[in-house]
């Protein structure tokens, strides 16, 4: 929140999701200065787009609220949003990062009063809702957005809409002359917490994502269930807005597949088990879930969550990798395949198919000295060759939130060890 000057005793944290925020806060609360860089206009990352967590079914925004309060009260963390690290130079204890900062077209004077949003007419896709819905081209990224400041979509810059927004703002918060800039930041150590992205489901051709409207991904399904989502928390199917009560969950959509992602993404089984709760929550009478799986990976303590779901009569399990999805005349996606436990063939129509898409590390394009050592899936490995650049969270492995936070906390200590050495040397 402050503008302290970055030095070799500063820790640079790349990525403002739960892993990055954790690494930044844990380091700051141990007395270190941190620069936290986030490419989106607001912090929170992927978890802030989830409706509930497994296994507690609590809301990610609850933890986000706590982390944001920690952040608001801590002068040691400097947050830079709409920013991407384009390169890092130097070596352990002495790095300089080039950071490209996109224009927000809104300055600190913004009070989030919303006048600009009401003034503009242009609607643009809402990435926070995976483009399932649209929002005004002058918008607050989401209800929990920090910084709590509006953003102007570049699409309207130079149009009458931009002028309307500017005119509507009583506080001179809109600055249409903002330009993209590149800033240099010094740091002794770097925590790389760029998280993950959902595997491109369109590449899994037999499942017809992109061809059939009623085939969606697990991350999109989270938005449908969320009160802040495009349907206001109702599970409606995209094709016709009809209530989707009979829902298929297809596991390993991309994961454990040599044609796509070679690794197991760890979270997808639990995510689908969790999402069957959404179906029951919204349609207690006649909600129905079917999980098509290879192995249910409800690891360690999560096993009892799995057992609870198994006991639920509205949920059925079929041990089968679905062969293909077709669409019937009513626009229902139809799953075709073979239940391998005793060889039973099925051709089952559902209201909606949810693909439990795999985790792909968003480490690509990272440009640092001696190039980062990663495994065959692109996850950053713990390797001396990486110097003082430490992978954290899902940039380092396919992890659930709990493990990602552990990993981020560990990464924070590794970074602190480096800057402490620098401090000793400089003292």
């Amino acid at each position: 929140m402050t503008e302290h000057v970055a030095t070799n005793e500063t820790i640079l944290v790349v990525g403002g999701g739960i892993s990055g925020m954790t690494a930044a806060l844990e380091a700051a609360e141990t007395g270190k200065n941190v620069v936290l860089v986030e490419k989106n206009p607001a912090l929170g990352g992927r978890t802030s787009q989830l409706y509930r967590y497994f296994p507690k079914l609590c809301h990610p925004t609850c933890g986000l609220e706590i982390n944001l309060r920690r952040l608001k009260g801590n002068p040691r963390v400097r947050v830079v949003t709409l920013a991407e690290v384009t390169g890092i130079e130097g070596s352990t204890g002495n790095y300089t990062a080039s950071i490209k900062v996109k224009p927000r077209y809104v300055n600190e004077s913004c009070t989030a009063c919303g006048d600009c949003g009401r003034a503009v007419e242009t609607m643009v896709d809402d990435p926070f809702n995976y483009n399932l819905g649209q929002h005004k081209a002058a918008f607050l990224p989401n209800a929990m957005a920090y910084p709590q400041r509006y953003v102007l979509d570049p699409a309207i810059i130079g149009t009458a809409d931009a002028d309307r927004a500017k005119a509507a703002c009583k506080y001179g918060a809109i600055d249409l002359d903002m330009k993209e800039e590149t800033i240099q930041v010094k740091a002794g150590a770097v925590v790389w917490a760029t998280g993950w992205q959902p595997y491109d489901a369109a590449k899994i051709q037999p499942y017809g994502y992109g061809r059939f409207k009623n085939v969606i991904t697990s991350v999109e399904f989270e938005r449908l269930a969320d009160i802040h989502g495009p349907t206001g928390g109702k599970i409606l199917r995209p094709s016709d807005g009809k209530e989707a009560k009979n829902i298929a969950f297809i596991q390993c959509a991309g994961s454990r597949d040599e044609n796509h992602l070679r690794h197991c993404s760890r979270i997808c089984c639990m995510a689908s088990l969790k999402q069957t709760h959404y179906v029951r929550e919204k349609y207690p009478e006649d909600g129905k879930s079917t999980i098509y799986y290879i192995d249910i990976r409800a690891i360690d303590r999560f096993e009892d969550f799995y057992q609870k779901v198994q006991a639920d009569p509205s949920v059925s399990f079929i041990k089968s990798k679905v062969a293909k999805v077709t669409e019937d005349e009513h626009g229902n996606p139809v799953c075709h395949g073979v239940d391998t436990e005793g060889y039973k063939r099925y051709t089952t129509p559902h209201d909606l198919v949810v693909l439990a898409v795999g985790m792909e590390p968003s480490v690509k394009g990272i440009n640092i000295p001696g190039h980062i050592v990663a495994d065959s899936s692109g996850f950053i490995e713990a390797d001396p060759a990486n110097g003082a650049v430490f992978g954290a969270g899902c940039a380092s492995n396919a992890l659930d939130v709990n493990r990602a936070v552990q990993s981020a906390t560990a990464a924070a200590l590794r970074a602190i060890q480096v800057v402490n050495k620098v401090a000793k040397a400089e003292a």
Binding site: E258, K324, V338
Partner: protein, 210 residues
């Protein structure tokens, strides 16, 4: 001692090893993770079911169910559509494994004798390699008459309309029965194939001995 009993003896209670060494692409069988996408992708599946779909056959092989696997008609249902291959998350060459197991069962005399596709497959190969090129008429006749003359005529009649259509369209030449297309260097082809069979046999034998 027949080929079969010899092999059964050699690979006692390790059918998987037998398949790995004696069947084309057989060493892929162990890589299956039983997801079942092959079974679900097989076109014939949605018509009349196989007795055992590929992924189940693989499990049976690991479980050492030699008799059931070698005598089933299942592999013979393969239409070589390659759906299973392109979808298999473990990249198993399933189509070829199916053909391989079929070929092996046929080779050691385990395959169901009168299974139509087994019969046709053999017929096709002989037909093609005899002159180097396929003679479609003889091929079909051969198939129709596999169950004896009377049945042959019956099958022939059933197919008559089809055949006539082709004849009219100039796509079936009755004269093919006498001669028809052939390669010039048939001798060379025969010699070449003979050699190929020799080499292949010796290689499999070597594996069995090794």
């Amino acid at each position: 001692m027949s080929a079969n009993t010899a092999l059964a003896e050699k690979y006692r209670n390790n059918f998987l090893k037998e398949i790995e060494e004696q069947v084309e692409m057989g060493d892929w069988v162990k890589m299956c993770m039983q997801c079942g996408v092959c079974s679900g992708s097989c076109p014939t599946n949605f018509q009349s079911a196989w007795e055992h779909p590929p992924q189940e056959l693989f499990m049976m092989i690991r479980a050492g169910k030699r008799e059931e696997v070698l005598t089933t008609t299942s592999m013979w249902n393969c239409t070589s559509c390659y759906n299973c291959i392109v979808r298999c998350p473990r990249k198993l060459p399933i189509t070829h494994i199916m053909h391989g197991i079929a070929e092996y069962a046929h080779r050691i005399g385990k395959a169901p004798k009168m299974q139509a596709t087994r019969f046709f497959s053999g017929l096709f190969w002989k037909n093609a390699t005899k002159t180097g090129r396929v003679n479609e008429l003889k091929l079909s006749m051969g198939l129709y008459f596999k169950d004896g003359f009377a049945q042959g005529v019956k099958n022939g009649m059933a197919m008559q309309s089809v055949a006539l259509g082709l004849v009219k369209a100039g796509r079936l030449n009755v004269m093919e029965l006498f001669g028809g297309h052939k390669c010039k260097d048939q001798k060379g082809i025969q010699a070449m194939l003979k050699k190929a069979y020799e080499i292949e046999r010796s290689r499999k034998a070597a594996k069995m001995a090794g």
